[in-house]
Symmetry: C2
Subunit: 358 residues, 2 copies
DNA sequence: TCGGTTTGCTAAATCGGATTAGCAATGCGG
DNA sequence: CCGCATTGCTAATCCGATTTAGCAAACCGA
């Protein structure tokens, strides 16, 4: 049916040399092994004519390297953000000629085990273990068969795996500074978590804790006292709406820091219900830069989760890890164990923050 | 470092048999080739003890089948919907022990070529060519090396590849029926496309054409005349807002069919600007079931794009295709060439449609 | 002219399985 | 007791590359 793939043997035959020679030339080791210019040219020409491409499966068997990495995450379909993370990883991998296997565990450890097995069976060169919401995860056993990186996740127990995470503490600082820069010092409320360091939503991911730390730090240093805060059980619009409504029944805030954009959407709805204008009456800052943030009216100022960059960074770190796998030089290697890489979260200044009334 | 993988040879040695025998037993062909019960048990036991798993790379080299399929799409990060499509494909593949390579072309034919090459180099057993917005695509040359399926896309030229698409015409009918069922017969406006069969957004995908056909068909049969329609250059909130505002400046509609949820979001905003309530003053139906549809107030009634099912279906069709690849029995095979599979789009009845005023 | 290098290339082994061909031992009918 | 079929297993080859070991020819100095 379909014409058989061109193999190295075909190239060798056309060039009139042995497969060994052809391999040597094509892998660039021709020079060092003293293959003549003439033969080199013949092989190169034959390969070009036949459009030869090495069979990676074969190479994988012989050399153990498949130019493939496995991307295992708990969920992939949560939001466009998840897609961005994969996209970043995909592009970074492609730039190095690598392909990605994608797997989804749905948080099921058994599924995860199966998936990792399936990937090892296919001899992946490295693994990315990703979480779609920043959180701590239990690192499955049997890691170590291949280099691995945690993405958007921290190991629950001590682990030698490096991790890549958004810089949430700094994000918290930035959100707070956005309000300070606009002159807000009073009537600032938090929606989603706080005011105390321990006032967090149940099941709390890393984001709540760290954003809160950053916010408290900046306000603390500026001598600004947060007027109030509402924990939300879940960071969904309806909870943001309820929390904000509760707040409005008791008074008039001047500014809100919502812990994510979905909560902010709910807050917008509550403010609208009370006839309050954003940003004229109340300024709003948020986190995530979910697609809706740019669709809301007025457009929401938010500190963006850099999903794309996270994905890229994970691949970068993974390659570094793969590079030094046989590295017996302890000196540098050991020091880097379990390193945590933080990716900055940029502020998206839009329309939801106005200068404080004098 | 890491303990070497267990190979078939290891199992054979422990069981005290030849690799051949071990292979026979483990591939289930032991019976037919008269391997004794005793030996069979020894091999099985050894394999279990060592936790033997066949190296798929090796199998791939020998048999040509890698239990892997390639999923190539134009974009993966457009929305959560894209993720759902991948998720559906992923799960359907996993159920059969297959893994997915993911690739993104960004609409670049050169990138697509490279990607398909990379996948062929890894000997994928089949390919899914996906589009994130339903549209016609140019089928790249060199398909035919492996079975392939078009997902959410139709071939621009005649092609033997089967395709899997949402049933948009029926979706159009359903949206129209939702309004008819609520008693609406007058003041119905379309936002996004129409009223004529040719009044479509530029770059128009398949969705606009087919939804419009379905809508016109049902209204036509019911003897209902559409009161008006606005084409939107792009189906984004701001265009929906502008179109609806233009409409409202000229009169008072009773019901809107928006061509997708983002357009509907804009329409909501415009209605709000004019002090009109949904659904009290104006009913709204839409398409896609984008996540925001459930977040809007009131929650949006919409005809859902079944992304998850589309992904699954594509894999199902692909396996059917792979099953009959060597199939020389022309009779059935030839008849199915280029078959189009339609996946139903379910209506999500929510809060944005009310009974028409008597 | 002969032994030792250098040059330039190739045969053969290897990776981990699947598959084909075939071999030794046993059973059985005549 | 011989010939042939059946039973039960294994040796050898193959998939498509990489890599090690090594061979023949040319060259070089004594």
């Amino acid at each position: 049916m379909s014409p058989r793939r061109v193999t190295l043997a075909d190239v060798a035959k056309i060039a009139g040399v042995s497969p060994t020679t052809a391999s040597l030339v094509l892998s660039g080791r021709g020079r060092e092994l003293r293959i003549s210019q003439d033969v080199e040219q013949r092989v190169l020409k034959a390969a070009a004519e036949l459009q030869y491409r090495p069979n990676i499966v074969s190479v994988g068997l012989r050399t153990g390297t498949t130019r493939t990495i496995g991307f295992v995450s708990d969920t992939i379909a949560t939001s466009r953000l998840a897609g961005d993370m994969i996209k970043g990883a995909l592009e970074a991998a492609r730039e190095r000629g690598f392909m990605l296997f994608i797997g989804e565990t749905e948080g099921d450890p058994e599924l995860e085990r199966l998936l990792l097995q399936a990937m090892h069976d296919r001899q992946v060169d490295g693994l990315i273990l990703a979480a779609m919401y920043t959180r701590t995860i239990r690192v499955p056993k049997g890691m170590g068969a291949a280099p691995a990186v945690l993405l958007n996740a921290l190991p629950k127990q001590r682990s030698p795996l490096p991790s890549v995470l958004p810089d949430e503490v700094e994000a918290g600082r930035r959100a707070a500074r956005v309000l300070l820069d606009a002159g807000h010092r009073e009537g600032i409320h938090l929606i989603g978590a706080g005011p105390g360091r321990r006032d967090l939503p149940r099941g709390g991911g890393v984001a709540a804790v760290e954003r809160l730390i950053g916010i408290r730090e900046v306000f603390g240093e500026a001598g600004v006292k947060v007027a109030g805060a509402h924990v939300c059980a879940d960071w969904q619009p309806e909870y943001g709406l309820a929390a904000t409504r509760a707040l409005l029944e008791g008074g008039r805030p001047r500014a809100l820091i919502c812990f994510n954009d979905r909560v902010a959407l709910g807050a917008y709805q509550a403010l609208d219900d009370f006839g309050l204008k954003v940003p004229g009456d109340v300024s709003v800052v948020s986190f995530d830069d979910h697609p809706i943030a740019a669709w809301m009216r007025p457009k929401l100022t938010t500190v963006a989760l850099p999903h794309y960059e996270l994905g890229r960074k994970a691949v970068d770190v993974l390659f570094a890890e793969m590079g030094r796998d046989g590295d017996d030089a302890v000196g540098e290697g050991a020091a880097r164990e379990g390193e945590v890489h933080r990716v900055p979260m940029p502020v998206r200044l839009r329309e939801s923050v106005a200068a404080a009334a004098p």
